[in-house]
């Protein structure tokens, strides 16, 4: 195989694709997407409200309402010093609820709560609002009411208010991630999860975009018969190597730009994400994963003739990449469960599973090494099979080959 010819193809694939609008858009779109998905929601949730919220209360016990005001008022203030919540007491009675509902619908209240007389035994109260997904307000009200119940009960039993206050103070939790080397790293809870998620999305995005470009360029070259000119000047292996090289270069360019963006945002990101020390393993699985999935894209893409078929082929392969996202919560709960370990060693899942697990809880060294070896082996075999399928597939027009055909081509030597 002549690397010189492969490099001519690689250069062409790179230069022509770098100039396309699709590439430039994806270059900008991805970081924007990641920031939107990972950072913005936490920023928004932690962002203080700008106006005072009116919360109603229908208190049939008469014990909660007077203190709720004080309790909420003392704790939550707007940035300009005004109280975050304003408690509106609605006298209990037959028409109280109807009245409260009307106030909510006319926006005089954002929500109201209903405290029944038996709250001490039922441990339940109602929250009524047009929007019941406002987790921040709901959890604050919930903890305020709980605090009041506890305080009242303790005082009824003769405990001094100052002691009650001391006893009911909240407890904070600080998460420390212990690395495999025994180093302690202070992190935000869930930061590993977010980082793992980001890695999967980047890897998947990276593979899918280059995969699509690869398949599309093969389809174009088939339709204008340039593939025959290519084949008359070099071998199928050289063409395939050139294409994969060119697209990898394209991917590296993308990563470099994103990396630069990430570094320039490092200050803001650091508050949410802590990068663990074992991060370089991430790189290993990135590179191997890219090559492995590329060879699968070559196999799926070489025999297709139309854009539509290309779309289908790439969709099927892409679905494989997103499977670990489905398993994400299970992995986060227990990253070293044995079924997770087994799934991580199935070549199709290894790159993404490992990319996800490393920031959460670095897998054992033997797992990392086994994963790497399995991936190197499967990439090697897939590349050979892909080369054979490519050689035959790029000259096939019209009829889509069956899976049997593909297997037969892959087995065919020479």
């Amino acid at each position: 195989m002549s690397l010189k010819k492969a490099l001519v193809v690689a250069r062409w694939e790179f230069v022509e694709k770098v100039r396309t609008k699709t590439f430039i858009i994806s270059l900008i779109l991805m970081p924007v997407f990641i920031i939107v998905v990972s950072v913005v929601p936490s920023l928004l949730i932690n962002k203080p409200s700008s106006t005072t919220i009116n919360v109603g209360i229908i208190d049939k016990t008469g014990e909660i309402a007077p203190i709720l005001d004080v309790n909420l008022l003392g704790k939550y203030k707007l940035p300009d010093g005004r109280p975050n919540y304003n408690v509106v007491v609605i006298p209990p009675g037959d028409s109280a609820r109807t009245e409260a509902n009307r106030m909510v619908l006319s926006n005089r209240l954002s929500s109201y709560i209903v405290v029944d007389t038996n709250i001490m035994s039922s441990r339940k109260f109602e929250y009524v609002s047009e929007n019941v997904s406002n987790f921040k307000d709901i959890s604050r009200l919930q903890s305020a009411v709980k605090d009041i119940l506890v305080t009242n009960e303790l005082q009824r039993n003769g405990i001094k208010p100052s002691i009650v206050k001391e006893v009911t103070r909240p407890v904070d939790l600080e998460t420390v991630r212990l690395s495999k080397e025994g180093k302690e790293e202070k992190t935000q809870a869930g930061s590993g999860f977010i980082l793992g998620y980001i890695f999967i999305i980047i890897l998947a995005f990276f593979v899918v975009t280059s995969g699509q470009l690869l398949v599309r360029s093969v389809v174009e070259e088939k339709s204008n018969r340039i593939v025959e000119v290519l084949l008359s000047s070099m071998t199928a292996d050289e063409i395939m190597t050139g294409k994969i090289l060119g697209l990898s270069l394209l991917g590296l360019t993308q990563l470099a730009v994103w990396g630069a963006i990430a570094i320039s945002f490092a200050g803001q990101l650091a508050a949410f994400i802590t990068v663990p020390g074992s991060i370089w393993w991430e790189g290993v699985f990135f590179v191997l994963g890219f090559l492995f999935y590329s060879s699968i894209f070559v196999m799926a893409g070489a025999p297709v003739t139309t854009e539509q078929e290309a779309q289908q082929a790439t969709t099927y392969v892409s679905m494989l990449l997103f499977l670990p996202i489905v398993l994400a919560t299970m992995v986060a709960q227990n990253p070293s469960a044995s079924y997770i370990k087994i799934l991580s060693l199935i070549p199709l899942l290894t790159p993404t599973m490992m990319a996800f697990r490393i920031p959460i809880q670095t897998p054992d060294l033997w797992e990392l090494i086994a994963g790497t070896l399995i991936l190197i082996g499967s990439t090697y075999f897939c590349m050979i099979a892909a080369g054979r399928i490519f050689k035959i597939g790029i000259l096939v027009y019209g009829k889509r080959p069956s899976l049997n055909d593909l297997v037969r081509w892959a087995m065919k030597k020479g």
């Binding site: 002549s2 010189k4 010819k5 001519v8 193809v9 250069r11 062409w12 230069v15 022509e16 396309t20 174009e220 339709s223 204008n224 018969r225 340039i226 025959e228 000119v229 290519l230 084949l231 008359s232 000047s233 070099m234 071998t235 000259l395 020479g414």
Partner: protein, 304 residues
Amino acid sequence: MLQIAALRKSYGSTRALDGVSFEVKPGEIFGLLGPNGAGKTTTIRISLGIIEPDSGTVLFNGKELNAGMKDSLAYLPEERGLYRKSRVIDVLIYFGGLRSVPPIEAKKRAMHWLEKFELSGVANHKVDELSKGMQQKVQFISCLLHEPDLLILDEPFSGLDPVNQIVMKDMIREMKTKGKTIIFSTHQMEQAEKLCDEICLIDKGKVVLYGELGTIKRKYGDDTIHMEFEGDSSSLKSLAGIADMNLYENYAEVRIRDGMSRHEFLKQVVSLVDVTKFSVEEASLNSIFISAVNADKTGGGNVA
């Protein structure tokens, strides 16, 4: 230049090539003729090493095709196209690069050829901004950048309008005067007749006629009757004393049997249709083509 011997190739149960052999001499224009599906493209693809034959050999100047030799070949595929979204000059530099021409040199040569074809103004245009005729010229240029010794053109005339057919013909002729060897495939006999030194006619994967164009034409004699007429052409099928006839709506080429005089023949014809032109010349290649293909089909002379 190129020796092809006993090529066989099957696709599944269909036999595309069944023992094709011929030789192309340096500096000649060689026509690979045959009806659609005869095996011309398969022969060309095997010659260029794009696909492997089941058996048989392809030799370039006595040697098997190797990577280095590929740089002295040029290939223009059938139903060709270019990268639509790329700039003309970039595409040309790339095609030069595929045959190991360094980019700077490729650019120089590309500009030279673009100028020659009065296309230098579109060098920086995208391919799909060009007219079809212009694209075809660019495609032809893409075959010339590495100064190949052998050009293989698959159906170079198909899809060209009459004006561009002449441009293509002139380009092929010019390559010949520069000492290049040219192989082209076609089913348009008029083009082959005007250009070829030697032809090879393939039908159903077999060579049915092969040799120098002049020799072949002489073999078919210079006593073919060409006639134009008005009237019911099917009535001519009943004519007696015909060895071979290619019949069209208002035109026929006929060879008559020994023993039948032209005088007698013409008398028969005149009684059936209104003859507007009657001449005796050598057979057209088109006629030879049809006769040869039909003879191959039925194992004897036939009426088209």
